[in-house]
């Protein structure tokens, strides 16, 4: 190949690069290893993760849940035709992924109660950032009024990106676990953001927020756990303009936090500002049904500096997997997982609050996750539970990183507990017994 180019060494290919910036020696890295040798290194990483779920029963949540993902979903979702393709720029040879995304969009549209959903974003947090950018574009305003019931990490991400966009972020504190909207002025807001359920699992009074958003003239953004639609009213039912969600519960493993799946749905009015890709149905030149990415004029590669989103690569494989998982669950299965999760959560809640010194953070109704105040430091209690084989939840102080408007009083004693359809009555009963013992 070199002689075809009239060269006699690979170095000649790089001869036009200034010598002053070329590496004299190679990279300061170890020599390559065989695959089995690297596998041995990774086995050590793996075994050092004492929190892996083969060793613990999981009650941790906060947007990442231990749901059943069956073999059929894992196997279909890891088909190499889906895994090793890229963005469907050539629709004639990408109908598989395009149609799967079309089906995904339909499913997300239905569970959000909104007419249009995109092909996915990175995760829930960055999807919320995109929703705020949409709101700023729709209203030419900068004021973002966000409930402190929105996941603390999402709020942190929103604040980071606001340094670039100049959005004015106003957090609204929680009282008894729900947003106290009376404490802020929502007039002139570009967006009002509420989480339903909120990150503490509590059901917000969404109608009242909708009224405030209508008065303010801003977009009404509802974020939340997509599984909630298996039991609760959808974002669209409550009059949302935008739904954003973390799609991990729809078939993705816990994966130490990524890759997850940013969900985004909105009304027809906002479609020209929709971030990311969207797949539409059309015809091919022989009048057969075909699918293609559409409304491309919104996207960064065309709008360049006038773009309102820079998203290019998203999380297509997770979206395809979510379509497969929702296909596996079907209408009844989706409702069943939500119902069973909620039932089991309430069963556990009712028993845990009987333990002396354990009190609920909120007296309000909740879905499948709840926060409890313990008689001592939550992190210490969680460590004790791990000793008994139970990942008993998450420390709210660790989640919020100190003081936060979502928690009245000291967050250090507050534990957040999530329950999925996988937890058996025996496991739930054991949690209660062990916590009682740990706290006594």
């Amino acid at each position: 190949m070199l002689s075809f180019l009239g060269m006699d060494s690979l170095d000649q290919l790089f001869a036009h690069i200034p010598a002053s910036v070329r590496l004299a020696q190679g990279l300061d890295l170890a020599a390559g290893m065989s695959e089995p040798d690297v596998a041995a290194v990774f086995a050590q990483y793996s075994s050092a993760n004492t929190g892996q779920l083969s060793r613990l029963t999981c009650y941790a949540g906060a947007g990442a849940y231990d749901h059943e993902v069956p073999a059929v979903v894992k196997m279909l979702g890891s088909r190499s035709e889906f895994v090793t393709a890229y963005t469907p720029y050539q629709p004639e040879v990408a109908q598989g992924i395009l149609q799967a995304i079309f089906e995904f969009q339909t499913m997300i549209s239905r569970l959000s109660g909104l007419p249009v959903a995109n092909a996915s974003l990175y995760d829930g947090a960055t999807a919320l950032v995109e929703a705020l950018n949409m709101a700023a574009g729709a209203t030419s305003r900068q004021k973002m009024v966000i409930s402190a019931g929105v996941h603390p990490h999402w709020r942190a991400v929103v604040k980071t990106f606001a340094h670039g966009t100049g959005h004015d972020i106003i957090e609204v504190p929680l009282k008894d676990g729900v947003t106290d909207w009376s404490s802020v002025d929502t007039s002139g807001a570009a967006a009002l953001v509420v989480a339903y359920p909120n990150y503490l699992g509590v059901l917000e009074e969404v109608s009242a927020v909708k009224s405030l958003s209508v008065e303010s003239g801003g977009l009404f953004v509802v974020c939340g756990d997509p599984l909630a639609a298996g039991v609760l009213k959808t974002a669209g039912d409550w009059g949302a303009d935008v739904f954003v969600g973390e799609g991990q519960p729809l078939g993705t493993a816990l994966s130490f936090g990524g890759p997850y799946l940013g969900l985004f749905a909105c009304t027809h009015e906002q479609i020209r500002r929709l971030p990311g890709r969207i797949v539409g149905e059309t015809l091919d030149s022989n009048n057969r049904r075909a699918f293609v990415t559409t409304l491309r004029a919104r996207e960064q590669d065309i709008r360049r500096e006038k773009a309102t989103s820079n998203v290019c690569t998203n999380q297509t494989l997770m979206a395809v997997t979510a379509a497969i998982q929702l296909g596996w669950l079907g209408t009844r299965g989706f409702a069943e997982v939500a119902t069973r999760s909620a039932r089991a959560a309430h069963y556990l809640f009712d028993a845990l609050v009987q333990i002396p010194g354990v009190t609920p953070v909120s007296t309000r109704p909740f879905f499948r996750e709840f926060a409890l105040r313990l008689p001592r430091n939550a992190s210490g209690v969680l460590d004790d539970l791990v000793g008994e084989g139970i990942l008993g939840g998450l420390s709210v102080e660790a989640l919020v990183g100190g003081v936060d408007p979502s928690i009245e009083g000291d967050a250090a004693d507050v534990i957040l507990i999530a329950v999925t359809e996988k937890r058996t009555r025996a496991e739930l009963d054991r949690y209660v017994d062990v916590l009682r013992k740990v706290l006594s």
């Binding site: 790089f14 070329r22 890295l29 020599a31 086995a43 990483y45 050092a48 993760n49 004492t50 929190g51 892996q52 906060a62 069956p70 279909l76 088909r79 889906f82 090793t84 393709a85 890229y86 963005t87 050539q90 004639e92 598989g96 992924i97 079309f102 339909t106 990175y122 995760d123 996941h151 990490h153 670039g164 966009t165 059901l203 298996g230 039991v231 009213k233 994966s255 130490f256 990524g258 890759p259 539409g280 149905e281 022989n286 996207e299 065309i302 500096e305 773009a307 820079n310 290019c312 690569t313 297509t316 296909g327 909620a342 089991a344 069963y347 969680l382 460590d383 660790a398 996988k422 009555r425």
Partner: protein, 508 residues
């Protein structure tokens, strides 16, 4: 059409019918799901959730058996081109072969069943892996520290611009402009805008490189920095990079390296040695993590020492006394991801790097550059290069003469290639080249494959003369023929429920 059921006529193997949607395959009452037997009392939800919150109808999803589910998605997979199927020379996307070993690593429940919110004491293996990857990426780029949080290249770009902003603000400076060459990826100007800066576009010179005089003329105390891809999107190395870096640093600006084309220089040149201050990497390109049909990717950002204190947090950190913990840099810009980034992608990338090592990574760049130059030279008389000299990992060719002579455009060549069994190159990018076709063969395609690709392109060029209309109609042998994109935008049907979906019957 037998709806629903086992007819596989949508598979290219057996026919050219369309595949029904999963909703069209639905039969009321059919199901696939199985859940654990839990013995949790079957209480009524209305006992603890007020009626005003409860849904009045179920979310309508498809109702299919597991067998029908498998058939449907398997058939869809047969209607999809992928790297595993064949060569995918899509320029700028680095569609190299994805070693299966790296996927096997990521399938380990010891990695993928760890909840991201557990205390560091329960995820020491993950923290060690992240620290090891950060060290490795810094060694490869010549930088001091990195964040692994950004979920994709564009997320890395925006993170880098916020780092640039934080750095200047910490020095009491309000700078307003970022320079970008006219050959840049569209994400660059979009990221600059979202980072709160104005874009100043720098023209390319007649060699396809940044016009140094124009650059110097654009510089001033209001310039926050410059975003460069090197090699640039024409596949050409910015030979005056040392002068560019000096000029930008001279006015107090920072240099941002868009790592989209890092595959070209692995182990040969490091961005840090060229004077860059901020570097994002696309792990799904350079380090072969599968592209997933459009993600997940990962876009870590590495920085020089003066920017370390601004990196996003929390970061996995090696503790002095042994072990690992989370910590945030002193003046961190904050989180840019809901958790720790696309962890499973990060693990795959580290496995790839460990297998290759220093020499293996250098070989990657050398062979990627060799393949691109071989293809460019091989096609010299068929599709000339936009800039005729040694390129790096990709080459931008032009179909202008085919358009002028026969009315066959670059897009027609690209569609014709699909019929030949190859994925298309990137078309009409960069914007500054007429009828651009950007080929990136990558290091994992053999010379025999490249010869075969070149022969196909030669056949298409001959056909442009003999049968231009045929090329305008291409492809015909694919699962669907040329798709009406304008119609999709004019009559938006983005879901099964769209009002415009009047031709819903899948009867073709």
């Amino acid at each position: 059409m037998s709806l629903p059921g086992g007819r596989a006529a949508s598979a290219p193997l057996l026919g050219h019918e369309i595949e029904p949607t999963i909703f069209e395959l639905s039969v009321a009452g059919r199901s696939a799901y199985q859940l654990r037997t839990t013995d949790v009392p079957a209480t009524s939800l209305s006992d603890f959730i007020p009626g005003e919150h409860l849904a009045t109808t179920r979310v309508a999803l498809a109702e299919v058996s597991e067998r029908d589910l498998v058939a449907h998605f398997t058939r869809l997979s047969h209607r999809q081109f992928s790297v595993d199927l064949g060569a995918y020379p899509l320029g700028s996307c680095t569609m190299k072969y994805n070693p299966k070993f790296c996927d096997a690593v990521a399938a380990d429940p010891g990695l993928n069943s760890v909840h991201p919110g557990v205390p560091a004491s329960l995820s020491q293996g993950w923290l060690e892996l992240l620290v090891d990857l950060e060290d490795t990426l810094c060694a490869i780029t010549g930088m001091s520290a990195a964040t692994l949080q950004p979920a994709a290249g564009a997320a890395g770009e925006l993170t880098g611009l916020l780092l640039m902003r934080a750095y200047h603000e910490a020095h009491g400076e309000k700078r307003t402009r970022v320079l970008i060459p006219d050959s840049a990826h569209g994400t660059n100007p979009a990221s600059v805008t979202l980072g709160g800066y104005d874009v100043t576009t720098i023209p390319s010179n007649d060699r396809g490189l940044v016009d140094l005089d124009a650059l110097k003329a654009a510089l001033g105390p209001d310039v926050a920095g410059i975003m460069l891809t090197n090699p640039n999107t024409l596949g050409l190395f910015e030979e005056e990079i040392v002068e560019i870096a000096a000029a930008v640093h001279e006015v107090g600006g920072l240099l941002y390296y868009d790592g989209a084309n890092l595959n070209a220089i692995l182990g040969v040149i490091r961005p840090g040695d060229m004077g860059f201050d901020i570097v994002h990497m696309n792990l799904h390109k350079t380090f072969a993590t599968p592209h997933g049909g459009g993600g997940p990717g990962a876009g870590p950002v590495a920085v020089s020492s003066r920017l370390v204190e601004f990196l996003p947090g929390p970061k996995a950190t090696r503790r002095a006394g042994g072990g690992y913990s989370w910590s945030s840099p002193e003046h961190s810009i904050g989180r840019v991801h809901g958790w720790h980034g696309n962890a499973m992608v990060l693990a795959r990338a580290l496995a790839y790097i460990d297998v290759h090592g220093a020499e293996g990574l250098q070989r990657v760049a050398q062979h990627a550059v060799l393949n691109a130059n071989w293809l460019r030279e091989r096609l010299r008389d068929t599709l000339p290069a936009a800039y005729d000299r040694v390129c790096m990992h990709e080459c931008v060719l032009t179909a202008t003469w085919l358009k002028n002579e026969y009315g066959v455009k670059g897009l027609d060549v690209a569609k014709g290639l699909l019929e030949e069994g190859f994925h298309s190159p990137t078309v009409y990018f960069p914007l500054i080249v007429d009828e651009a076709l950007m080929f990136e063969p990558t290091e994992t395609e053999s010379v025999q494959t490249l010869e075969s690709l070149a022969s196909s392109i030669e056949r298409i060029a001959l056909r442009a003369k003999s049968d231009p209309d045929g090329l305008h109609r291409a492809p015909q042998s694919t699962p669907v023929s040329r798709v009406d994109e304008a119609r999709a935008a004019r009559h938006l049907i983005a879901t099964e429920d769209a009002a415009e979906r009047s031709h819903g019957s899948p009867t073709h």
